[in-house]
């Protein structure tokens, strides 16, 4: 039996125990606020930036044996600001007038790309079992007990001091200095700021150097709290710290600090008192079992949907953005009928050839990959609906897909339901979950929808997956979450080729449905709401209904795809397929390649499933050179390049929101149309002179 100390003493101790982790959250939350105030970017890549400096500091101190000061100078005061300047110069300078959502997508891309890029360039590998060193000698081994209740390590005290000083200094910077005011002005409208004679580029560069320096400092201070040094740790902290930043509505530094500390303390107090009282109170036991592991995500979600102040937060938006031209139409809608016919003929021929090759020549591994690509393309169509059509960023598509997959597992395992029917039920349940989730979320705008869905994804991951009626149960404990392949009449889809046919059929059906939605009433409604919510309401459109529909349809597609994926792999494989970070990468892929079109989703599916095998491992070279023995020696490349390349490709989202493929397609169409027009004109005229012909040839070649 637990010997209970006084509640007051425990309360005080819990407060002290929650302060060190609270300081970690506060540091990251301050970084968020700093980045948002100075750049208008909801910088999910903050954790990646922090990781780079922490890893560099570890490398310098432990691997290269540098002293504390030079290691700190290089990792925090040189590398971090340099990284910030590079990001500003190459990426964010061009995005100043982009929407907050566009900037968020770019930040997500950087979250994926930066850690892998650093690891490849420096040759750094994540560390385990070794505690990273702090910035003071004896940081982890020397303790102080200022109140006689709980000891703080020297590292923790330094982190607390830095958090306090940083908050004060940054607040003073914004309140009393000219540069602080200029930074905020540049975020508000760089074009108007430049009209006032302020060099927006310089101010913006300073902003990024400052916020990146802070990320580096936070990274080095945070690292000693873990016995590992890996990018996912930092990303997870970022997700937790968003809750703290939300307390400050992304603009208040003192509130962000208080939010971080408060979150740490809240978790510590919950861990202090819930286990003690839960034995006598079943409700508390339920909360302890189900909520404690996901406390930060519950707090974040609760804040977003229940706190009116957050819902009312105005996003940074350039007042002159209204004069910017609207996004261009889809290439397929603007090309000539002749080109459309040519494209269709080419597509039919291409898919016929690929189909023949796959169904006659592919081995089990390639069949698996192609089927995976088709199913992922189906799942990615859910992103086409929610992001491409509705303009919302949902980061919980993995959770919706997992609902479909787990339903297929549970219904077949417990009730012997035919797995296809179970998959459809799973898709329906996912649609229900999507609709319910959209009710509180739809009142949020822009980045807050993304953050709320991210919180839901982490809540699903931390709490729901382990519930026996979702991901667990006796069968799962004994032999995992195995899912059978279906049979349809005489066809046993245990055969991989037959299952590929089913996957293709589903993809085609869902594609037709998505095109139907895009071109139908729902699609037009969503476009109207996206263009101007107020204007849409004025003509009788209900934005709420439109968004609920979009969420539900999107979740249905994701759930259906998730169930198919589980059938394909004959196992749910939750960690491999549906974890939050994997779903984050899905979004990066789709928005990079084409969020508004079926082709974009298909290309993203193919890229996810086939990029490693075809390019990084060199199969394409083997095909071209007609022998796997001739694959160049530098292959295979590290799989980290997949994250680097697609992460960096997401950067293009802000400049080409239609996606790289759609952008390239339009350029190609324009060029072909020009050439065709020139030839038509040439046919009506006498033969061109030699220089004209040469120019035409050069243009064609170019």
């Amino acid at each position: 039996m637990i010997v209970a100390a006084s509640v007051g003493e425990d309360l005080f101790r819990g407060l002290l125990q929650g302060t060190p982790p609270g300081t970690v959250y506060a540091l990251v939350a301050l970084g968020f606020v700093l980045a948002y105030k100075t750049s208008g970017v909801f910088n999910l890549a903050f954790g990646a930036q922090a990781y780079v400096s922490a890893a560099m500091y570890f490398q310098a101190r432990v691997e290269w044996g540098w002293a504390i000061v030079p290691a700190l100078v290089v990792s925090v005061f040189v590398l971090a600001p340099a990284l910030g300047l590079v990001l500003e110069r190459l990426i964010f300078r061009h995005l100043r007038t982009s929407s907050a959502v566009a900037k968020l997508v770019v930040a997500i891309g950087l979250t994926v790309a930066i850690p892998s890029l650093f690891e490849v360039l420096v040759g750094f590998e994540p560390v385990a079992g070794r505690t990273p060193e702090g910035i003071v000698p004896g940081g982890a081994t020397v303790f102080y007990d200022p109140f006689g209740v709980y000891q703080f390590s020297r590292d923790e005290l330094v982190a607390m001091a830095v958090a306090l000083v940083a908050m004060s200094a940054l607040a003073a910077l914004f309140r009393y200095s000219g540069i602080g005011l200029q930074m905020r002005a540049v975020v508000e409208s760089p074009r108007m700021t430049e009209l006032s004679g302020i060099r927006a580029d310089r101010v913006s560069a300073f902003s990024w150097a400052l916020s990146s320096l802070f990320a580096g400092l936070a990274g080095v201070l945070i690292a000693p709290r873990f016995n590992t040094l890996a990018a996912p740790d930092f990303f997870n902290i970022v997700v937790v710290a968003i809750a703290a930043a939300a307390v400050g509505r992304l603009v208040s530094l003192p509130r962000a600090l208080a939010g971080g500390l408060g979150l740490g303390v809240l978790i510590a107090l919950a861990n202090t008192f819930l286990p003690r009282w839960s034995g006598d109170h079943p409700l508390l036991a339920t909360i302890q079992d189900n909520v404690t592991p996901a406390m930060p995500f519950v707090v974040l979600f609760g804040l977003l949907v229940l706190w009116p102040a957050v819902r009312g937060t105005r996003e940074q938006a350039d007042p002159l953005a209204g004069v910017d031209p609207p996004p261009p139409s889809l290439a397929a809608l603007t090309r000539s009928p002749a080109l459309t016919r040519a494209t269709q003929v080419f597509a039919v021929a291409f898919f016929a050839i690929v189909g023949v090759v796959v169904f006659t020549g592919a081995d089990a591994a390639w069949l698996f990959l192609v089927t995976q690509a088709v199913i992922l393309s189906t799942i990615y169509l859910s992103i086409t609906v929610i992001t491409g059509l509705a303009g919302q960023i949902s980061l919980c598509q993995g959770a919706f897909a997992a609902i479909g997959a787990f339903t297929a597992f549970q219904l077949t395992d417990r009730a012997g339901v035919p797995v296809l029917l179970a998959g459809l039920v799973g898709a329906g349940l996912a649609a229900g979950a999507g609709a319910i989730l959209s009710l509180p979320v739809l009142r949020l705008g822009g980045v807050w929808v993304a953050i709320a869905t991210l919180a839901f994804a982490f809540f699903f991951d931390a709490v729901m997956v382990k519930l026996p009626w979702i991901g667990g149960g006796d069968t799962a404990l004994l032999q995992g979450t195995r899912v059978p392949r279906p049979t349809i009449g005489p066809w046993d889809l245990a055969d991989d080729k037959k299952f590929l046919v089913l996957a293709l059929l589903v993809f085609v059906l869902v594609s037709l449905a998505v095109i139907r939605v895009r071109e139908g009433t729902v699609g037009r409604t969503l476009r109207a709401v996206r263009g101007s919510e107020v204007a849409a309401q004025s003509i009788g459109i209900s934005p709420s209904r439109a968004r609920i529909t979009a969420f539900a349809v999107s979740a249905f597609i994701a759930g259906l795809g998730g169930a198919l994926l589980a059938m394909h792999q004959q196992n749910v494989n939750y960690s491999s397929n549906f974890a939050p970070f994997a779903a984050l990468f899905w979004l990066v892929l789709v928005v990079s390649l084409g969020p508004r079109t079926v082709e974009g989703a298909a290309q993203a599916g193919a890229a996810f499933a086939l990029f490693d095998a075809v390019l990084l491992k060199g199969a394409a070279f083997g095909w071209i050179l007609r022998s796997p023995d001739r694959i160049p020696g530098f292959l295979p490349l590290s799989p980290k390049w997949r994250f680097i390349l697609f992460g960096l490709a997401a950067i293009q989202f802000a400049r080409h929101p239609e996606g790289l493929v759609e952008h390239g397609k339009r350029r190609a169409h324009e060029r072909v149309e020009r050439i065709l027009a020139r030839r038509r004109r040439a046919g009506d005229r006498p033969a061109p002179t030699a220089p004209e012909a040469a120019t035409a040839v050069e243009e064609t070649v170019a």
């Binding site: 302890q288 990959l369 029917l421 059906l509 494989n573 490693d612």
Partner: protein, 458 residues
């Protein structure tokens, strides 16, 4: 309703109708297991050492040529969230064993070789496994992976697969999957933890674990049940249980340690990873609980313990094989240490797992006879009733080992309940049992408390 809508709706209705057809494998009678008699009658011949040098031309068997028998190794390297050495260390063990056997002439006139090494990048195990199956260039597969998504495909394809034994659920009912450690019941009560508490002179024990999965919660619950079950016999009572720890302990573990301190806990058994163990030990030290003994399920890592200084001093660590600190003479541990040294590699947990897996692959070939193929090797292996890898693991009865059971049905297990425990002394490990008899075994039939019997398997 427009035409295309009607078409889509009609196809959906069709699919719904067809959905009622059923699931693949509905007609199958239970899991596919290889039928073997007590004498391994389905294997092609008697096998055994006497035939080891007998060469028989073989054609049409994947990975087998006149010169060599080729295997693939698949493991996690890129994206390993634990950051520990898995694929490289495991490969060292497999290659050391192959070098050892090849130095004696190999088997059936052929060398054992690793023809393919594949990094499954954490989430690509199924693809890599299918790649090996399609390539048809490997006789069998060695797997040291964190996510075993490819084991089903390998089992379906009939590929003998020797694996790091941390995925009991993925190995269950799959007759071609041979894990290094057989765990048929993850969640049954056992005597190892109560015994470790007893010999640590503990009086009040805690059981804690991550709440990240049903598995880790059940592990914690089983530990708590075990301590309670034998409390009267060991004098160790259960004083604290917590199966809701956040994975990675990102918020620290201060309040939980305080609660254990207030509960007078002097022994803590955990279901958490080695990085979490270090966080726990650091917090215990901070709160003046250095004397508390920790029971580690996953920390048999000499470098990790040495790097931690005296943080784990006096702790008890469970090991899944004959520990390096036990007497090696007369057992395969001798050869392991010698050949790891010959290869220029440092002994490690994963290398030992690779060695044990390779031993079973070799012995399966030997039992199948010189005219071997995959089915014969699988059948011969599943006919083994006391595989102990030359004294490195407790004997495994492979004719039963693929079938999981629960606490209620555990009487179907005819083997002993054995464990190996080592204690951290001066930053190094020392066996709890006598070094020449490092296993501590109890009867599986009689679950009543008894002192364990120090045992040697050779």
């Amino acid at each position: 309703m427009s035409r295309s809508s009607r078409v889509i709706a009609a196809v959906l209705v069709l699919v719904l109708g067809l959905a009622a057809c059923g699931n693949s494998g509905d007609d199958a009678e239970g899991p596919a297991t290889t039928e073997t008699g007590d004498d391994g009658a389905t294997a092609s011949g008697d096998g055994g050492e006497s035939q080891r040098d007998e060469f028989v031309p073989i054609s049409g068997v994947p990975g087998v040529s006149d010169e060599e028998i080729s295997f693939a190794v698949i493991g996690t390297k890129t994206g390993n969230p634990l950051g520990t050495c898995i694929l490289d260390c495991y490969l060292q063990g497999v290659e050391a064993y192959f070098a050892y056997r090849n130095s004696e002439g190999g088997i059936y006139g052929r060398d054992l070789v690793v023809g393919q090494t594949l990094d499954d990048e954490l989430a690509q195990n199924q693809v890599q496994s299918l790649d090996v199956i399609s390539g048809d260039a490997a006789f069998g597969v060695f797997q040291a992976t964190l996510l075993a998504s490819g084991w089903g495909a390998l089992d379906d394809a009939g590929v003998p697969t020797y694996a790091w034994g941390i995925h009991a659920a993925d190995a269950a009912n799959r007759s071609h999957i041979f894990p290094s450690a057989v765990v048929r019941c993850d969640h049954c009560t056992g005597r190892a933890v109560p015994y470790a508490a007893e010999i640590s002179d503990a009086r009040r024990a805690a059981a804690i674990g991550y709440g990240v999965s049903e598995n880790s919660k059940r592990c914690t619950q089983a530990t708590a049940d075990s301590i309670e079950l034998y409390a009267d016999d060991t004098g160790v009572e259960l004083a604290y249980t917590n199966d809701d720890l956040a994975y990675g302990l990102s918020n620290g573990i201060g309040p939980e340690v305080t609660a254990m301190k207030e509960a007078g806990v002097d022994f803590i058994s955990t279901c958490i990873d080695l990085n979490g163990m270090k966080t726990l030990a650091q917090e215990l030290r901070r709160q003046g609980m250095d004397d508390v003994v920790l029971y580690h399920p996953n920390t048999y890592n000499q470098q990790f313990v040495a790097d931690a200084g005296d943080l784990f001093e006096g702790d008890v660590v469970a090991v899944q094989f004959r520990p390096f600190e036990a007497d090696a003479e007369g057992t395969a541990l001798d050869a392991y240490l010698e050949w790891m040294d010959n290869q220029g590699d440092t002994p490690s947990e994963l290398a030992m797992v690779g060695w044990i897996n390779a031993t079973l692959a070799y012995e399966g070939l030997l039992a199948a006879g010189p005219d071997f193929d995959r089915d014969k090797v699988t059948a011969a292996t599943n006919a083994m009733t006391d595989f102990d890898a030359g004294g490195l693991v407790e004997p495994v009865n492979w004719s039963e080992a693929h079938s999981p059971y629960t606490q209620e049905t555990r009487d179907q297990d005819s083997s002993q309940e054995c464990t190996v425990l080592v204690r951290v002394e001066g930053g190094e490990f020392a066996t709890v049992g006598p070094p020449d008899e490092p296993w501590l075994c109890w009867s599986q039939v009689d679950l009543a408390w008894s002192e364990p019997e120090p045992t040697e398997f050779d």
